[in-house]
């Protein structure tokens, strides 16, 4: 051990490498929550879950829909191969597409990937024809220069077909086809009626031209066919009508010096785009300008244009006789057109402004309606059984139809509509079975509540202020039934209720309400059986005829009540609830077996110090298997799965379940007259012990009388026996005021040797006295602490007497200062200890009052009031003393002598006669009436025990 002690300061031997210190508090790694998880594509870029333009919601397994993996998360794939490829790929040049988002390749992206002509089939030339077509259409577009924009952005390129044509000798501006003989100058775009939509402008009207021009044309000169403008099928975007064209900015911007022919309806701004090939003519209407036009109206172009008269013809020339109107502005006559005239020739006259259709209209085929049979009547025949009886609320038209078809209408029932039928009536109509259970909510209510409800309803409806009679009120709901005899006091409604509850139920009922009276029970069963058969007169028939009227009425009432009360639960709630698997016995509750014992008896036994049989309880206790294993003990109950104490059933609503030990005792004790009682807990036990109940007192008295150990003691017992009432009363009153005081009093009575007279004296004294000056305490306390240091035997004697005094005074003290009752938690340290020893500072006391159980001592007494007078052998002195024992003993002797002198002096001063006890230990015994066993007796018992069971 010495060797150990030399080494133990420094080194611990450790074997092996220590494991990582276990961080107990460290939480486990949490999985990343969904909202923090991210999805990246194969290039490691974040994928948006919620693209505003391309979808809007995530789909699949964490947005995997649309990805390569689809709905399933990808499985493991070795990346070794791909790494090698990646290295190879990195040597190649990265394309811009690698850095582009996938959205960019989409329809709205900056690089849409569509099917296009490859570069091999694209010519570098501009497709002037399509360009022109676009330009022509741009004239009609709302935004003037948007073709320019198109040209800048995407230069139109001529196709491979154009290239081929050029190779074949075609030139731009020419038409396609065999060369024709004609004069190119005379070419005129006279298209006849303008056609919109899909009709193609007839290509070339050579014949008419030839007809018109009788000029000389050299025979060997051929001309290329006239070029045609391809129709650009641009969709209409605006809301304007057909033929609408927007502003032409070209007109507004200085191209106005054109000659305007007022009479040419074919003037078209489009025409000028065909260069010099066409006449520059313009329809220039002044109409509308003076009135102001809307921004989108088409006659708007000349607002800022100055019209010069030079642009107008000053005379009517004969240059255009073609229209043959000679100045009339009527709609143009199309008689000129040869073909149309031809067509009209054999059909008939054509309306002005109309032309013949090119295609004949598709003929509509119409089918005649089927022929009705002769005896047809437009009436549906219903099943006569179900229908006619209760049809109501049919529409008048239908009724009329019925009448006419059948010759007569079924007479209407008093009910007007099927919505006014109640559910029962509807049920009978369709022939359904009645639902099990109460027919209305009212049946679930108590009769009293029902009455009240009905009353409220009636009074609200303004019918009668008086509470309605049962039979009358329910007749509204139920079909009328035979009038009940007036002698029946049981309400018809209750009977009905019972009937409805029992109807259809098998009368195998378990509950027998009249078990004590077999005949009655039999009658009741009969009644129930009839009820279950739906017999309305079950009650009357099941009663004994030879009974008196009073008996009958009484039994009637009882039966109905019982049948309602114990109606089969299946009918009551079967349609709404399912039955519990196991019947709950709601009268009992499971408690541990150890709660059964009677505390009072035990308390009495403890007071008598009859430990053993009376205070011991033994239960079967089932330890956990693992616990037995850990303790190296075989499982005492190998087959049992129970753990802990077995439970016993006990009355659930017993008051004793909710009472603690002290509370139960309090209930046994007479209630204090005043409610000044402080909160008590189990901690009051030691104090409450004195509030001995009658039983323990009697027991103790009996025991003491029988034992008769000591005449002295029996004398005191007699005394207590003679006046038990004032004693307990006294104690009760004191306990009423303060528990603190009680504890005080206990210590008080400890010393006062069960002298109840002195107790009461001190009580009255305390009430009269005011708080004594502090000097008294000081003197007493210091002297008491002096006494502590004296030798044991002496100290005990002194202590005893001292306690008497101290108790006396502290009693008064606490009577005075016992004002705040909330402070008086029973677990408070005994005031004697605190006050006399000066150990516990009051601050720490209040601090610790919050905790339960025996408290921990205050951490330090340095804050406490320093005790006065010579201290008991303190710690400082101790080391010195331990060095020399003899010296110490001498010192002690000296000390003792001093003490003795002091004490004697004090005794004289106090003038109290002290009785010296014969035995030291008896001085410690408390004053409890019941705890009167002397030390000798204890010893004797101990010895007998020892002898009986040799250890």
């Amino acid at each position: 051990m010495a060797a150990d002690s030399e080494r133990e300061g420094e080194d611990f031997v450790s074997f092996g490498t220590p494991l990582e210190p276990l961080e107990e508090d460290e939480p486990l790694k949490k999985p990343v929550p969904i909202y923090e998880q991210t999805v990246v594509d194969e290039k490691g870029r974040y994928q948006r879950f919620h693209g505003a333009f391309t979808g809007g919601f995530s789909a699949g397994y964490f947005n995997t829909v649309g990805s390569k993996e689809g709905w399933a998360p990808s499985t493991f794939k070795s990346s070794r191969q791909s790494k090698a490829e990646q290295q190879k790929a990195e040597q190649q040049k990265a394309r811009p597409e690698d850095f582009m988002d996938e959205e960019d390749f989409g329809e709205h992206g900056i690089a849409p990937s569509e099917i296009t002509r490859s570069a091999a089939f694209q010519s570098g030339h501009r497709d002037s024809a399509s360009e022109k077509a676009r330009a022509v259409n741009a004239q009609s577009s709302l935004i003037p220069g948007d073709t320019l924009l198109e040209q800048i952005i995407a230069p139109a390129k001529s196709s491979i077909g154009v290239e081929l044509l050029k190779k074949m000798g075609w030139r731009e501006g020419q038409g396609v086809g065999p060369r024709v003989k004609r004069k190119p100058k005379k070419q005129k775009t006279e298209g006849g009626p303008r056609v919109y939509g899909c009709a193609i402008i007839p290509i070339g009207s050579e014949g008419s031209e030839e007809e018109d021009d009788d000029e000389f044309v050299p025979e060997n000169v051929t001309f290329a066919p006239k070029d045609v403008t391809p129709v650009d099928f641009t969709p209409r975007l605006g809301l304007q009508g057909l033929g609408y064209r927007g502003l032409d900015p070209g007109l507004a911007l200085g191209q106005g010096s054109q000659h305007i022919n007022l009479f040419d309806p074919h003037f078209d701004s489009k025409g000028k785009l065909f260069g010099g090939k066409q006449k520059q003519r313009r329809h220039k209407g002044v109409a509308g300008q003076g009135f102001g036009v809307g921004a989108l109206e088409d006659e708007d172009e000349d607002i800022y244009l100055r019209d010069s008269m030079s642009r107008y013809d000053t005379e009517i020339k004969d240059e255009e006789p073609t229209d043959g109107l000679f100045g009339w502005t009527a709609p143009q006559e199309y008689s000129k057109k040869k073909d149309s005239n031809k067509d009209a020739a054999y059909i008939g006259k054509i309306l002005e402004g109309f032309t013949l259709a090119q295609k004949p209209e598709a003929e509509k085929t119409s089918f005649p309606p089927p022929r009705l049979p002769r005896d047809y009547r437009p009436v549906r025949r219903f099943n006569p059984g179900t229908f006619v009886a209760h049809v109501s609320g049919v529409s008048p038209a239908l009724a009329h139809a019925l009448k006419t078809s059948r010759g007569h209408m079924v007479k209407d029932e008093p009910q007007t509509s099927r919505h006014q039928l109640d559910s029962g009536q509807r049920r009978t109509l369709i022939g359904e079975e009645a639902l099990e259970g109460p027919s209305s909510v009212l049946d679930l209510l108590k009769p009293a509540d029902r009455e009240r409800l009905k009353y409220i309803r009636n009074s609200k409806a303004g019918l009668q202020a008086q509470p309605p009679k049962d039979s009358s009120s329910q007749s509204a709901l139920r079909p009328p039934r035979p009038v009940t005899p007036p002698t029946i006091s049981v309400s018809q409604r209750e009977q009905d209720q019972a009937l409805s509850a029992w109807k259809g139920q098998t009368p195998t009922q378990t509950f027998k309400p009249f078990e004590k009276n077999p005949e009655k029970q039999e009658r009741y069963e009969q009644y129930v059986g009839r009820l279950s058969q739906g017999d309305k007169d079950a009650l009357e028939r099941s009663l004994e005829p030879e009974m008196t009227e009073w008996e009958r009425s009484r039994e009637r009432e009882e039966f109905v009540r019982a049948s309602i009360l114990y109606r089969p639960s299946s009918s009551f709630l079967s349609s709404r609830f399912t039955r519990g698997k196991q019947q709950e016995d709601d009268d009992t509750v499971e408690v541990n077996v150890d709660e059964q014992g009677d505390v009072d008896d035990k308390q009495a036994a403890v007071n008598m110090k009859m430990f053993g049989q009376l205070t011991r309880e033994t239960f079967d206790w089932h330890p956990e298997k693992l616990l037995c294993k850990r303790f190296n003990v075989p499982d005492p109950y190998p087959g049992s799965s129970l753990v802990g104490l077995p439970k016993v059933k006990r009355d659930k609503y017993s008051v004793f379940n909710f009472l603690t030990v002290t509370e139960s005792r309090e209930t046994s004790a007479p209630p204090p007259p005043k409610a000044l009682e402080v909160k008590k807990s189990r901690w009051d036990v030691s104090q409450e012990m004195k509030d001995s109940d009658a039983l323990s007192e009697m027991l103790s008295d009996a025991r003491n009388q029988s034992s008769e150990t000591d005449p002295d003691q029996s004398g005191t017992q007699d005394q207590t026996l003679a006046l038990p009432a004032p004693d307990t009363k006294d104690q009760r009153s004191s306990s009423r005021t303060e528990t603190k005081e009680k504890s005080k009093k206990e210590s008080d009575s400890d010393s006062s040797d069960s002298d109840s007279d002195s107790d009461s004296d001190s009580d009255s004294e305390a009430e009269e006295e005011t708080r004594p000056p502090m000097d008294v305490f000081k003197a007493i306390f210091s002297s008491s602490s002096d006494e502590k240091s004296s030798s044991e035997s002496e100290a005990e004697e002194e202590q005893k007497k001292d306690e008497q005094e101290r108790g006396h005074i502290t009693h008064t003290l606490f009577n005075v200062s016992a004002a705040p009752p909330s402070e008086a938690t029973p677990s408070e340290p005994t005031p004697t200890a605190a006050a006399t020893q000066n150990t516990a500072p009051t601050a720490s006391q209040t601090e610790e009052q919050e905790s339960f159980g025996p408290k921990l001592p205050p951490p330090s007494s340095t804050l406490s009031v320093s005790s006065r007078g010579p201290l008991p052998p303190s710690l400082d002195e101790k080391p010195k003393k331990s060095k020399d024992k003899k010296h110490k003993s001498k010192k002690d002797h000296k000390h003792k002598k001093e003490k003795r002198k002091k004490k004697q002096k004090k005794h004289k001063h106090k003038g109290k006669q002290k009785k010296i006890k014969k035995e030291e230990s008896s001085s410690d015994s408390d004053s409890e009436e019941t705890a009167q066993i002397s030390t000798e007796e204890l010893l004797r018992r101990l010895k007998t025990v020892r002898s009986q069971c040799p250890l």
């Binding site: 133990e8 430990f611 049989q613 340290p829 339960f852 921990l856 010893l939």
Partner: protein
């Protein structure tokens, strides 16, 4: 009989102060010898647990990890592990050498008053103010106790284990003895709140101290009262009591700053050892020798029956 002559000095009683150690950890809530008595543990109010050498009185290690004042501690039979309990509702199993927390066990609903290893240190038993005793397995890493003994109806103030028996003292005034081998629970009603319970060394008796300032020695098998020891003050505080190593004496702390020592059989006060002026909170009797540890406020005192010189020689002998 005016003044009875002082008793002849009983050499078997520790009354010589060998050492007084200032633990510097606030109030010492409990002081405990280890199994062989070479070391002792002091549980401080400053959340620390300290390991000391008995013979030299020096600090060996400080174990910190509790969240509130440490209330009780115990050491395993092989000195490899310590367990301690605290007001922070936890029980901690420590590794002695490294000072690390091996296991921190939560589950009690209130402060844990007492903790004890079983004989083989396979189970830790802790009693709490919540009225339950929990049996923690030191072998497994489960955080749940093996079993919860919730028969008590008030705070468990003290708890002792001997072989296959578990003794608990409860504030509801009952001493409960769980016999694992027999599968039985014996409840002895004492009526006053129990502050401390002990087994006698021979395992035949139980000692219980209660707040009515009485120690009672009960026969373990029948529950009969074998002896009653009074004279000290124990009325509000949870103070320790113990039996001497050879079951000759009964010792108890007192609120008046003394340690009272009674003769077990006679019931007479054999020694009233003045420790100081404050409350003697805790004490521990050496498992084999006549050494007594007491704790008062922040200091721990070591008492022996002989002076230091002889003690030294005795040490070298052993």
């Amino acid at each position: 009989m005016a003044f009875p002559a002082p008793k002849p000095e009983d050499p078997q009683l520790p009354q010589v102060l060998l050492r007084s150690v200032d633990c510097q950890q606030g109030a010492v809530r409990a002081v405990r010898f280890n199994v062989d008595g070479n070391y002792f543990l002091s549980c401080g109010a400053d959340k620390s647990l300290k390991l000391w050498s008995v013979t030299r009185g020096n600090l060996l290690k400080t174990y910190s990890g509790h969240g509130y004042e440490v209330l009780d501690a115990d050491s395993s039979f092989d000195n490899s592990q310590l367990c301690s309990c605290s007001s922070d509702k936890t029980v901690i199993l420590w590794d002695v050498a490294s000072g690390q927390v091996t296991r921190k066990l939560r589950g009690h609903a209130g402060k844990v008053n007492c903790v004890q290893f079983n004989e083989e240190a396979t189970v830790m038993l802790s009693g709490s103010i919540d009225g339950s005793v929990r049996c923690w397995d030191t072998r497994s890493r489960k955080q749940e106790p093996i079993q919860i003994l919730d028969e008590a109806r008030d705070s468990i103030s003290s708890l002792k284990v001997a072989q296959h028996e578990l003794l608990t003292g409860c504030v509801d005034g009952r001493v409960r003895r769980y016999d694992l081998r027999m599968g039985q629970l014996h409840v002895d009603f004492i009526s006053s709140p129990i502050t401390c319970v002990c087994f006698s060394a021979d395992g035949q008796c139980t000692l219980s101290s209660s707040l009515d300032s009485t120690l009672r020695l009960l026969d373990k098998s029948t529950g009969e009262l074998l002896g009653e020891y009074k004279g000290h003050q124990m009325k509000g505080y949870k103070l320790d009591c113990c039996l001497s190593s050879k079951d000759t004496h009964v010792l108890s702390c007192s609120e008046d700053g003394h340690v009272y020592c009674w003769d077990l059989v006679e019931g007479s006060l054999a020694l009233k050892l003045p420790v100081g002026k404050a409350v003697v909170q805790s004490m521990s009797f050496h498992p084999s020798e006549c050494l007594l540890l007491t704790a008062m406020e922040g200091r721990v005192q070591l008492w022996s029956n002989q002076s230091e010189a002889t003690e030294e020689t005795m040490d070298t002998d052993t």
